[in-house]
């Protein structure tokens, strides 16, 4: 799974949470919680969805690393890489 696949997966899961937001229009380096108007419950659902879909269990301590789209993709890519090794 490359970065593009991960980005696609992340976007799809975010879209499930906030279907009315146009993800193409958001700043990939901006705060998702602001851009998507998501709260802690939405964010937890997003983390759950990533866990189910990609098998990456993201601890609470790492949540801050996933608050941007770019950050989330990079973080998941790194975690998937380490799993493979």
């Amino acid at each position: 799974m490359n970065d593009l696949d991960i980005r696609k997966a992340v976007k799809e899961e975010l879209n499930n949470i906030a279907p009315e937001i146009d993800l193409a229009a958001i700043d990939p380096a901006g705060d998702l919680r602001e851009a998507l108007d998501i709260d802690s419950m939405d964010f937890l659902n997003f983390i759950s969805a990533i866990h189910h879909r990609l098998g990456v269990d993201i601890p609470e301590l790492d949540y801050p690393k996933l608050v941007t789209l770019d950050g989330a993709v990079a973080y998941i890519a790194a975690r998937l890489g380490s799993i493979r090794k």
Partner: protein, 399 residues
């Protein structure tokens, strides 16, 4: 023979539109089964049944707007079945009049004047056939369409206008049960009534939740995401337990008197992107364990944002909790949702210098507020109630 009627999903609800039947004649139902979906100002609501038995006859077709109390289906109850009672078919009670509508359809114009139409036995919302067909086909709730036709009738163009709004970009992708304009109308009605009728008093209390946060961090560190807890669950649980001990804040004020509720159904205020708000009930929040409560809260939030709230969740809350979350502000003062008598507000958790054991240190502080109905309780009781919630919130192990 029992009748399943259009439920009242709030004091401001006059009518609902039946948009989906989930049962058909001959189906067996039991108490709590979801049997129909009704479109109201609050969105699409799944309606539960409170009789066990067999669906005898469906009385109201799809996309029909009927007043609260209108029989929707007839049910042969289990008792009748056991007794072998032959189902008699009483004619359904006439729907109650929604409003007194003017009797004339057309002003007399050309001589001779057209004979006046017979006085309507039942005054009801006037919807032209064309408008009704378009609304049905497009799933538009007629109760939220502004009428511009003769004699106050909703006409085709009115539904088209509504449809135009409904297919605006953001709306297009929104869950079908959510209509933010309608929801705004419902909020406006409820909040205006609250501020008009309920003498609110407000209390504020700050609580150190450092320990609870640490407790949550420890718990969540070893749990998969599906089982993790949020501090919001602790807040709801604390309020539920305290409400059981302070009945003056849990129940309904109706017809000039307070009716305390034995059960504690905590309404959870849920913001909906784009400007909506709903506060459906977490049933028996005082009776269930924290993990269960968290699971149900997640389900409730997801369903609410997807426009699938159940009827009992809409009508049952006995007290409400509102929290603006981590991106919110420190303090909020809630407006009571009538006919409830109290609402608890939680601000965001902030790091603050705090005196503890004679020394100043950084702690996580949350500001809680209580808005309560002064017809039912006084500040003294409110202060004890709020303090109790604060105590509970600091002892997560006991929740």
């Amino acid at each position: 023979m029992a009748e399943f009627r259009m439920p009242s999903l709030g004091a401001d609800m006059e009518a609902g539109t039946l948009v989906e039947w989930l049962v058909k004649p001959g189906d067996r139902v039991k108490r709590g089964d979801i049997v129909a979906v009704v479109e109201t100002q609050k969105g699409a609501i799944e309606i539960e049944i409170f009789e066990a038995g067999k669906i005898e006859q469906i009385l109201v077709g799809l996309n029909t707007n009927v007043p609260v109390g209108t029989p929707l289906a007839r049910i042969q109850t289990e008792r009748e079945e056991a007794a072998g009672t032959v189902a008699t078919a009483p004619s359904p009670a006439a729907p109650v009049a929604l409003s007194a509508a003017p009797p004339s359809i057309l002003a007399p114009v050309a001589p001779p004047s057209p004979p006046a139409p017979p006085p309507a036995a039942v005054a009801r919302r006037r919807v032209s056939p064309a408008a009704r067909r378009l609304a049905g086909a497009q799933g538009i709730d007629l109760s939220i369409v502004t009428a511009s036709g003769p004699a106050g009738a909703i006409i085709y163009a009115d539904v088209e206008r509504r449809l135009g709004g409904a297919v605006a970009d953001a709306e297009k992708k929104r869950a079908p049960g959510l209509d933010l304009d309608a929801m705004r109308t419902a909020i406006a009605a409820a909040m205006a009534r609250s501020k008009r009728e309920i003498p609110h008093y407000y209390l504020e209390h700050q609580v150190d939740v450092t320990v609870s946060e640490q407790w949550l961090t420890q718990k969540n560190a070893v749990r998969p995401p599906d089982e993790r807890l949020l501090i919001g669950a602790l807040m709801v649980r604390s309020v539920a337990l305290a409400a059981r001990r302070f009945p003056a804040f849990n129940g309904f004020y109706r017809d000039g008197k307070f009716e305390p509720s034995r059960a504690v159904h905590v309404g959870v205020a849920i913001a909906i992107r784009g400007g909506g708000l709903a506060a459906p009930a977490l049933h028996d929040a005082d009776q269930i364990q924290l993990d269960e409560l968290m699971t149900r809260m997640r389900d409730l939030v997801q369903r609410t944002r997807a426009g699938r709230i159940r009827s009992s969740e809409i009508s049952d809350p006995t007290i409400t909790v509102t929290s603006l979350g981590e991106r919110g502000v420190e303090t909020l003062y809630g407006i009571i949702y009538p006919p409830q008598v109290a609402i608890l507000g939680f601000g965001k958790v902030v790091r603050r210098p705090w005196v503890i054991d004679g020394a100043i240190g950084p702690r996580s502080i949350v500001t809680m507020t209580l808005s309560a109905d002064h017809r039912v309780s006084d500040g003294h009781a409110g202060a004890l109630f709020l303090a109790e919630i604060g105590m509970l919130l600091q002892e997560p192990d006991k929740l």
